[in-house]
């Protein structure tokens, strides 16, 4: 069996789905953040795979590069927020931070 672009994309879709489901079902902010990382990674995989089959330049890889940078920033800020929330609520459950309702 030859591995083609479709396989990479399918894999990436599944990982994205797992990340999304994780984000939707888990209430632990830390794990939700990790789910986001999963989704970002799946996108990176897609970008890199497409780039492999259009190798005239590095557009896809470069996007992935930026995504990694943004993901790092996001993780940093996100975790800072987690700590702030923890300090406020003594909890990292996302549904404890529901003041912004109604």
């Amino acid at each position: 069996m030859d591995i083609t672009l479709g396989h990479y994309l399918g894999l990436s879709a599944i990982i994205f789905g797992i990340g999304a489901i994780g984000f939707l079902t888990r209430r632990n902010i830390l794990i939700q953040l990790m789910s986001i990382e999963l989704m970002l990674n799946s996108v990176n995989l897609t970008l890199i795979a497409f780039n492999r089959w259009n190798p005239g330049n590095h557009a896809g890889q470069m996007f992935a590069f930026f995504v990694i940078a943004v993901a790092a920033a996001e993780a940093a800020v996100g975790l800072a927020i987690v700590i702030a929330l923890y300090r406020l609520k003594k909890s990292v459950q996302s549904d404890h931070a529901d003041s912004l309702k109604h």
Binding site: A20, F23, L24, T25, R27, Q32, S94, D95, A97, D98, S99, L100, K101, H102
Partner: protein, 939 residues
């Protein structure tokens, strides 16, 4: 006066203007400056302006008579016209009808103008003395002059719109003058009542006016009178709306409807059933007002209007008989009420209503000149009676009104008043050779005349009925007037008012407040019903006493001064003498009056003969007898006895007496059936507004918004995964949208070709079917998102007919589909008779064969290329046209394009589009492109 005065180039019309303007200026001057002027100045302005107006009126009148004589045979149309300016205009249908401020003096308005200014002058003089103690002296004369101006506008205007100014103007003045002593709430309420009731009448005048103007396209009385002939039965009136709405129309002649509406107005102004209720209450006003407005002039405006429009009224015997019956009923009703009343002015008020009923009965039976003659004579004797009553009240200091049971023996104290009063009473009773005798006789004769069936269209029973009612009413009139006279002037003085007033403190500073209690107490004991009715504001007779003419020299009654007695004497002379202007025609005596009014009072259509001497003599005898009977009974009961018989009758029939005393309880009835429901309706509206309208349009949407807002805030629960779930819903939608290809097929006609364009998308492949044959012509290809098809090649078995349904509008397109014979919108074709029916397997009337539209035509007019043809089957290539039965039919072609689009996932979507090509043939020039903009693009 010499004729020179009238012939030196001066426009007599301008005088007409000044007749109106003088009292108006008098009013304005007194209104603005009267407060700072002395009473002398005020009365000088008021009386002076009216006197000048009277002078001018005489001058114009003389000029008019001269014109009439000078014109000889055509003198009938002699009149003086003056157009001041164009006021405004209204649309009648598509015509602009201008309304002018234009005055006219013709025989009718001439007489009225003389009566108004003449009697008005006398009453003004009278009022200078009568009202001399009134603090708001200037206000009184301001109103009175304003009334004179309005009344003169009413009678002198040459068109209905301007007349309406006067019509409403006198209503306003009446309102102001009835409520002159407004500090008494019942007086003020009486004023309001008068105004509102008059307004109901004005509504009738408005609608009647609109109807007449609608029919004759003019506001001018002359034009309406000339156009009256068109108003008879032939004209159908669609009550619902426009004339062509046949099923809404009721077969009533325009004249009848217009006349009944106008009569409603006249009934309001002239106090006829059902709108008479305001007049008795109007006696709350000062006595000169009662005399001038509510007896002599304003209330006769209704009769004036009917006489003025008599050619219209005679067109409708129905309306005439209604008027006659209502007039006679009013005469009778008011007379019965007057029988038992005890207040001087109240009796006179009901007497006025009754006499007005006589006048209406007269015009109702077609005796226009007789009815108007009664207006004229009545003005004299009724004004005299009112002023006489005022003089008596003045003498006994019974302010507002006087109870005749408290009076008596006044002839000793005030001989001149008594003489004039007696003369007027005789006149109103129809004593031979007094003015009332002649005018009443005219009326009775008129009723009897139509009763004999002289006017074929007119129900003769109405004549007899009216006659009987009027005779009874005349008897009663004589009775109650002489009851009034005997109780007031004969016998001994029974009153204690003088003493009471002598003891009372002089001229109270707040008229209407002090003094009310004592007289009211007196009244309460004598007239128990009065108290009960005060709540309705109509029975405002005696719970007041004004300091306005408390002279402070009490004691016994005394004769009034010259300013009061001289007008009385002049009026009494008139009451005696003016009857001779209208000597009976049947006795071959010269009837100046009738001759004078000939140009304005309409002749009854189809009536050639005149009343015979026998009928005339009989009626005169009956009338005289009726009057004398009434007088005799009154004499017997009140002079020979001391009123025992009436007292016994009252004791025997207490309920009848109470019923009459309560004026038939009409006010109560109205309160129950009109005022209460109206108030209820108004309460209901106001509540409905709060609850239903505001609730439905404000509160309900507000509640809905709040509820919606509540529901949506529930979604904002602050939980991340809820928001996430909503996001996923969006992802689902977008995903599935992108999984399936979307052709979004568009088409465009390019000459004889049709170009189809499908949407492009990543990895899309296309295949096309554009030839109307089954199956796709092209194979899957990624590059063919556009496809062009030729019309000529493709349109073979399908087509459309383009029909020009309505001229001027773009043609609706009717598409024929496979297996369809024809498709018509019944709205576009009144009938399809021109097509052969599609029976027994014959080819369809319209079909598409071999690229041509075939039409088989029944016997209809067919034109092809402008030439008539007789071919039974017409064959049209797309773009060609034919006219069948006046309808343009053009053949057109239909193209269909289908595309299938496949995306990378292998999903396939199909879309078709059908195009109607109206002018695809190369020889046909493209029609206006904008007319058929792509509907999808447009909408």
């Amino acid at each position: 006066m010499h004729s020179d005065f009238f012939s030196f180039g001066f426009d007599p019309g301008r005088l007409l203007l000044w007749i109106v303007l003088l009292p108006l200026f008098g009013s304005i001057i007194n209104g603005l400056a009267g407060k700072f002027a002395s009473r002398k100045m005020v009365s000088a302005v008021a009386v002076g302006s009216v006197a000048l107006a009277f002078g001018l009126a005489i001058a114009c009148f003389v000029k008019l008579t001269m014109l009439r004589h000078a014109a000889g045979e055509e003198g009938e149309h002699a009149r003086i016209l003056y157009t001041a300016y164009e006021w405004f205009s209204v649309s009648v249908g598509n015509v602009n009808v201008p309304i002018f401020v234009r005055f006219v003096m013709d025989p009718l308005s001439g007489v009225m103008a003389l009566v108004i200014t003449g009697i008005g002058l006398l009453i003004h003089i009278y009022a200078t003395s009568y009202m001399s103690e009134e603090p708001a002296y200037y206000r009184f004369f301001c109103y009175l002059n304003l009334f004179m101006a309005s009344m003169l506008i009413l009678v002198l205007s040459s068109n209905m719109a301007l007349m309406f100014v006067g019509w409403e103007g006198v209503g306003l003045c009446s309102y102001l003058l009835i409520g002159f002593w407004w500090e008494n709430p019942t007086y003020a309420a009486a004023g309001k009542k008068a105004f509102v009731v008059n307004r109901i009448g004005d509504f009738g005048v408005l609608i009647g006016m609109f109807l007449l103007v609608y029919a004759t396209q003019s506001f001018e009385f002359d034009a309406i009178r000339h156009g009256a002939a068109n108003l008879s039965g032939a004209t159908e009136l669609a009550i619902g709306g426009m004339a062509q709405a046949d099923h809404h129309s009721i077969n009533v002649s325009m004249a009848t409807v217009a006349c009944l509406f106008l009569f409603l107005g006249c009934a309001g102004k002239s106090a006829q059933i059902p709108l008479y209720v305001w007049l008795p209450d109007a006696m709350a006003g000062p006595t000169p007002v009662s005399a001038l407005i509510h007896a002599a002039t304003m209330v006769t405006a209704g009769v004036y209007l009917i006489v003025r429009l008599s050619p219209v009224f005679v067109m409708s015997p129905v309306a005439m008989s209604v008027i006659a019956i209502i007039g006679a009923s009013t005469a009778l009703l008011a007379a019965t009420i007057a029988l038992v009343q005890n207040q001087m002015k109240k009796i006179l008020a009901y007497s006025t209503v009754s006499q007005l009923g006589f006048m209406f009965a007269a015009v109702g039976v077609g005796a226009f000149s007789g009815g108007f003659f009664h207006v004229f004579t009545h003005a004299f004797f009724k004004a005299c009676l009112f002023l006489g009553a005022g003089s008596v009240m003045h003498a006994v200091h019974a302010h507002g009104d006087a109870d005749i049971r408290e009076l008596g023996g006044m002839k000793k104290f005030m001989p001149r008043t008594r003489m004039t009063f007696l003369i007027s009473c005789l006149a109103i009773a129809g004593f031979p050779l007094t003015s009332g005798f002649f005018s009443k006789d005219d009326i009775l004769l008129g009723a009897a005349f139509v009763g004999t069936g002289a006017w074929a269209d007119y129900p003769s029973w109405v004549g007899w009925l009216v006659l009987v009612m009027l005779v009874i009413a005349a008897t009663m009139t004589a009775f109650y007037m002489f009851r009034l006279y005997f109780l007031t002037f004969e016998g001994d003085f029974r009153g204690a008012h003088g003493e009471q007033h002598a003891a009372a403190p002089p001229a109270p500073s707040h008229p209407g407040v002090e003094g009310a209690a004592e007289t009211h107490a007196l009244e309460a004991s004598t007239d128990a019903h009065a108290v009960a009715h005060d709540a309705h504001g109509h029975d405002a007779h005696d719970d007041h006493a004004h300091g306005h003419d408390a002279h402070g020299h009490g004691g016994l009654p005394h004769e009034s001064n010259g300013a009061i007695t001289w007008p009385l004497m002049i009026l009494a002379f008139g009451a005696l003498a003016v009857g001779f202007l209208g000597l009976p025609h049947w006795a071959h005596l010269p009837n100046i009056w009738e001759h004078w009014l000939e140009p304005v009072s309409a002749r009854l259509p189809g009536v050639e003969t005149e009343a015979s001497a026998g009928l005339g003599g009989t009626m005169m005898l009956i009338g005289t007898l009726a009057g004398l009977t009434g007088i005799a009974i009154a004499y017997r009961w009140y002079m020979m006895q001391a009123g025992e018989t009436p007292a016994a009758l009252a004791a025997r029939f207490p309920r009848l007496q109470a019923f009459l005393m309560d004026k038939w309880r009409v006010d109560e009835l109205y309160a129950r059936i009109i005022i209460k429901p109206a108030e209820w309706l108004s309460n209901f509206s106001s509540e409905f507004d709060k609850v239903a309208v505001d609730g439905g349009l404000t509160k309900l949407p507000a509640f809905a918004a709040q509820a919606g807002s509540w529901a949506f805030t529930r979604l904002q629960n602050g939980l991340v995964y809820s928001y996430g779930a909503v996001m996923v819903a969006g992802i689902v939608a977008i995903t599935f949208w992108y999984l399936i290809p979307h052709p979004n097929l568009q088409s465009a006609v390019q000459g004889a070709d049709v170009k189809y364009v499908a949407a492009t998308g990543y990895g899309y492949e296309y295949r096309w079917d554009v030839d109307l044959e089954p199956g796709f012509e092209t194979n899957w290809d990624t590059n063919t998102h556009e496809m062009t098809a030729s019309f000529e090649r493709a349109a073979r078995n399908r087509g459309a007919a383009v029909m020009n349904g309505r001229p001027g509008s773009p043609p609706p397109v009717i598409q024929l589909r496979h297996g369809e014979l024809y498709a018509f919108n019944p709205r576009d074709f009144a009938t399809t008779e021109w097509m052969k029916p599609n029976t027994d397997g014959t080819p369809p009337a319209m079909t598409w064969q071999d690229g041509k539209l075939l039409i088989r035509v029944n016997d209809a007019e067919v034109r092809q290329d402008g030439l008539p043809t007789t071919t039974p089957t017409i064959s049209l290539a797309p773009g060609e046209s034919v006219t069948i039965g006046g309808r343009l039919i053009r053949a057109a072609g239909v193209m269909r394009g289908t595309v299938e689009v496949r995306n990378v996932f292998g999903y396939v979507s199909r879309e078709s589009v059908e195009v109607t090509i109206e002018n695809a043939m190369p020889q046909a020039a493209p029609r206006g492109a904008e007319a058929h903009a792509d509907l999808r693009g447009g909408l």
